[in-house]
């Protein structure tokens, strides 16, 4: 009897597995056709040779990867990572208190989150332009300061590393606030009371209880801001004024003006590898990949 029942169970299990495959089919096709294949093509391309006039010769070479190590490009990579790291840090430092505040205002937290998300839904081009208008030499801030007589000639607030970093924070703050908000909100508030009940003051309670328990949200915020930061070429273009070239701009140039597809592909692959490593570290620290999609 038992064996028969068992066989039945196995059959049913097989059947359900089959139906799972069918249910996943559209998604699988989607992922393979639109994500996996292009990535593989990118990887393939990165090992090809550049031909004349922007053509590609299908001959295997690692030349593109070696070129990345040339100081000219390697410095760009270093600088990209540096600016992305600074921007990410700023996003987290600014975003955490914001997320905490929003989560603590239970009644209006929905509205506050919506307001937080508005710039994120607006076309990035528009928001960056508004940024330019605010901070350019004849922009709002400079005019205002001059009218007040605090300064006599416009100070250049744009087109430097700093303005790029500020622009990144401006654009990417919602990505940082979202996951941190969700993990602060999910946290059991009675734990904070328990800590205070046991004699811990607010600072200790924050460091020992709140911070460790919202770590997954902070990690997710780091990943969600660092990755776009490294690749965002639009912000660098508009706020860096050509002086601040980041890896995203270099890749963009390779595929457009320079027409060196293998080199562009190699840079892209390096970028993808960095991201994958970050994701791996994230899961190693106990992060949940689902939180990144939240």
């Amino acid at each position: 009897m038992k064996i028969i029942a068992n066989a039945d169970y196995v059959k049913r299990k097989k059947k359900s597995r089959l139906s799972q495959v069918f249910m996943c089919a559209p998604l699988t096709v989607w992922v393979v056709a639109l994500i996996l294949l292009p990535l593989l093509y990118l990887l393939f391309m990165s090992f090809m040779t550049k031909g004349p006039m922007g053509t590609v010769k299908y001959i295997f070479s690692v030349e593109s990867y070696i070129r990345i190590l040339e100081p000219e490009y390697f410095n760009v990579v270093k600088k990209s990572v540096f600016i992305a790291a600074i921007s990410t840090l700023a996003c987290v430092l600014v975003g955490y208190p914001m997320a905490y505040f929003i989560a603590s205002k239970k009644k209006i937290s929905g509205t506050l989150m919506l307001m937080m998300m508005l710039p994120f839904w607006t076309c990035a081009l528009v928001t960056i332009y508004s940024f330019v208008i605010m901070f350019s030499n004849s922009g709002l801030v400079n005019t205002f300061l001059m009218k007040l007589g605090i300064i006599h000639e416009p100070i250049s607030l744009l087109y430097n590393n700093f303005s790029v970093a500020v622009g990144m924070v401006y654009e990417l703050l919602p990505f940082a606030v979202m996951p941190m908000y969700s993990s602060i909100e999910k946290m059991d508030k009675s734990l904070i009371e328990a800590s205070k009940d046991l004699g811990a003051g607010p600072v200790r309670t924050f460091l020992q209880v709140t911070l460790p328990l919202t770590k997954p949200g902070i990690f997710a915020a780091v990943i969600l801001t660092f990755i776009p930061c490294i690749g965002y070429y639009m912000i660098t273009d508009m706020l860096g004024g050509g002086t601040t070239m980041l890896i995203g701009n270099v890749i963009y140039n390779q595929f457009t003006s320079a027409r060196d597809w293998p080199f562009g592909a190699a840079l892209s692959c390096i970028l993808a590898a960095v991201i994958l490593i970050l994701m791996y570290v994230y899961t190693k620290f106990g992060g949940d990949l689902d939180d990144l999609g939240a």
Partner: protein, 377 residues
């Protein structure tokens, strides 16, 4: 029912004086005054929403009273934050830190107080032994069962040797068997450590078995604060009579007061009670426990209450009998005399020993209405 704990002193450790709590226009705790004695096991008992948790949270400092004074050891705690008060709480949801081990959870309070490391170690070990969790120190919280988490929560609070331990339905999430076992353990711990416990529950049986004194709460007020024995045998209000155990309640008027008894007239007939505490013309309730109800085929002196047997209900080892009075109200009997039981439909004469008919003053009409809205547990 335990008798009064001999270790309870008369010294007051926590006192509430005319304490009020308003949430907007909702008056949750009404003009509450209460003195909690050092070393006693005091239970706040009442139906859901009557303000038990709110009262506890005002003592621990997580809620501020809207009016009134709370004193711990004769010192007003108005300006003290929760972490500055010498009380600890066992939360209903345990509220154990999931990012720490059992050891670190229990050691938390001592680490905050910067107690030396080796002292922490020995004291945590002592605590673990006390709550019978030796060998669990390295475990993560999510690897513990409900009952084990409960013990960790108790150990985490007790290790600080608080003057008062506040427990908010600490056994609420446990199954019946574990609950009974933990009740005994908690009582044992309380006696052993001689710490004042303020315990919240809506389970009357739990309150009766564990407490030195019970404060029966209803709608933000304390209806009666007394020993379990007195609460059960001498309920002061109709609410107490019906919330703690079952009671048959008769509306009555005192018609005659004699030396050895008082005769009361009711809608369903005439009965007698002891003459103490009543005077001629009073309108009262007479409360009689189902186990104190008697019946006979003959009429009994001093009583003239007729009822028709409606049904018998078998509940394990006891049989309950329900009978209908002439005015349509139902009354309940338990602890039936063996011998000849009446048949359904028989007419019986109802009576009780004089001492078992407990007179209770009538509430105002508004209070009666409130009573009707409370689910009697």
């Amino acid at each position: 029912m335990s008798d009064v704990n001999e270790k309870v002193s008369d010294e007051v450790i926590v006192s509430l004086l005319n304490v009020e709590k308003w949430y907007g226009s909702n008056n949750v705790v009404k003009n509450m005054s209460m003195k909690i004695k050092r070393g006693e096991f005091l239970t706040l008992l009442g139906p859901s929403g009557c303000g038990k948790t709110t009262t506890l949270r005002m003592i621990s400092g997580f809620e501020e009273p809207s009016a009134g004074v709370i004193k711990i050891e004769n010192e007003s705690v108005e300006m003290k934050e929760p972490y500055q008060r010498d009380v600890n709480t066992v939360f209903q949801s345990y509220a154990l830190f999931p990012n720490m081990t059992v050891f670190d959870n229990i050691a938390y309070g001592l680490k905050v107080k910067k107690v030396p490391k080796d002292e922490i170690k020995t004291r945590v070990e002592e605590m673990l032994e006390l709550v019978q969790l030796k060998g669990f120190e390295k475990r993560r919280i999510d690897q513990m069962s409900g009952g084990q988490k409960q013990r960790v929560a108790i150990a985490r609070a007790l290790i600080n040797a608080p003057k008062v331990l506040l427990l908010d339905e600490p056994l609420g999430a446990l199954d019946l068997k574990l609950r009974k076992q933990m009740q005994l353990e908690l009582k044992r711990l309380q006696k052993k450590l001689n710490i004042t416990f303020v315990y919240v529950t809506h389970d009357q049986e739990e309150a009766l078995t564990m407490s030195d004194r019970i404060a029966v709460m209803n709608g933000g007020i304390i209806e009666q604060l007394d020993s379990p024995k007195n609460i059960y045998e001498h309920p002061k209000t109709k609410f107490v009579a019906t919330f703690i155990g079952e009671s048959n309640i008769f509306e009555a008027a005192v018609n005659e007061v004699k030396e050895d008894c008082a005769v009361v007239g009711m809608e369903c007939g005439r009965g007698s009670i002891l003459p103490d505490d009543v005077s001629l013309g009073d309108n009262i309730y007479v409360s009689v426990r189902p186990e104190d109800m008697r019946f006979d085929t003959e009429s009994v002196e001093g009583f003239n209450i007729k009822a028709v047997v409606k049904e018998f209900i078998y509940i394990g080892n006891i049989t309950k009998m329900v009978a209908t009075l002439s005015n349509g109200d139902e009354i309940k009997f338990t602890r039936l005399h063996t011998g000849k039981l009446p048949q359904v439909g028989d007419v019986i004469n109802v009576y009780w020993s004089l001492k078992d008919g407990i007179p209770i003053p009538t509430e105002t009409a508004a209070e009666l209405q409130a009573l009707k809205n409370v689910k009697i547990g």
